[in-house]
Amino acid sequence: MAANPADWTPDQPLIRMRDVRKRFGATTIIDGISIDVMKGEVICIIGPSGAGKSTLLRCVNALVPIDSGSILVEGREVNDPKLDKLALRRKVGMVFQQYNLFPHRTALANIMMAPLHVLKRNRAEVEEEARALMRKVRLAGKENAYPGELSGGQQQRVAIARSLAMQPDVMLFDEVTAALDPETVKEVLVTIRELAEDGMTCVIVTHEMGFAREVADQVYFTDRGVVVEHGPPAEFFTNCRDQRTQQFLSQIL
């Protein structure tokens, strides 16, 4: 398989995980997961807490190193000691459960920071794009607000815009609505759905089953570090075969 980004072509999976394993001390978090994500696809990963979903996302952009297996992102082997992590992360956007906006900078500055300092792009151009992104996430007028002055849902939408400003090829969403008030969950989900409809490749870890059913091309159910079952949402939610999946869905739906 192509371990060289130059050999990667868009007809191959944008993310190709094979037998990924990760343990922290004596505890196995990820116990051999293989998932393919094609360009433009939306993948939802569901499962009980502690199933290793968040860790798996962090492995994809090398925030957490994997112990064995392989993750190819556009042909880049993440499990390669010579990996250029910064080059990888420019292509992979990530949005966190706790938003993690930089509290000392305004919303607009949060969005502009990475393009300015990482990509070293022209300020006027970056600012124009950042304003467009603020409109895209429906926060026009909040450009000069500090994160502390925004609601959770608004902060999360700024975080999405901040990630998009790097023009990534794939977006990772780590339980992005789990810390939100119920009434603001929807506005964030709408933003993500619009992104998905625009053709952005998305890997979404979520507890929102209705949302997963609506946007996902493939739903993966993970438990104890393995993929128990996966399939297109229509099939997955109505016709799951594994007992663990049935039990999980009956608890949550």
């Binding site: 978090i29 009980p48 807490s49 910064l86 975080a159």
Partner: protein, 278 residues
Amino acid sequence: MSAVGNLPVLKPFRIAALPTHSCSLLSSRHGALLIFGLALAIGVGGAQAGPGTPSILATMVKWTPLLAQGFALNIAMSFLAMAMGTVLGLALGLGLISLLRPVRAFSWLVTQFFRNAPWLVLLFYCILLMPFEVRIGNAIVPLPGWAKATAGLTLPVMANVAELVRGAVQSIPSGQWEAAEALAFTRLQTLTRVILPQCVKRMTPPWMNLYALVVVGTPLASIVGVGEAMTLTGDVLSSEGRPELLVPMYLYLLTWFFIYCYPISRATAALERRLQVP
């Protein structure tokens, strides 16, 4: 749910905020007590004075310009020590959080040594070990006692600032590091653009507190013969040769320090209160 669910690494964790130093704060009650003590000492001293000598108050006023000169040196030394100590301490503090183990170990050793060594010992070392002049190029620059004493005070400031930096950096939630890393920031960019700017706010109150400590530490320089306010007060007392002046004069000097440190102390307290409200 499953046993895997209890992993600390999956939980968002928060580190407690920096400890505050409110215990050492001055209050207006201290000021009232000081003024009362000074008035009492002047009264008692006046009663002890022999006939025909000028009043205690008049003597104090007479020497005030000289004491002010000495006090200006105290302030200058505290400013310089704080400025140099902060710059050096910032570098040392970054050493404390370095990813390189030898750098970290060395910085830790330096920090612990200068933080725990008595200030007076450091002062003596600087006075005795530093030359009285240094040659820079062709010019010979004299190193007066006060400059050496300032260097001696810089060392503990450096070590304390280093600890402040380390503590503040570690008090920033790990999500800030993660977010910056995910945006492809380098470690240096993450530090300078995301982490350290947030540390400034957290570090300001304890840093001001440290400054007040440095100010009241400057009279230590009198022991090594620097002509600052403490030394000059002693000179005044020996030239006047009136034992009843002893207590009022030193209380008078103490009042100077109080008047200078009190606003700093109040501002520190106000800042701490404001920062506690998120």
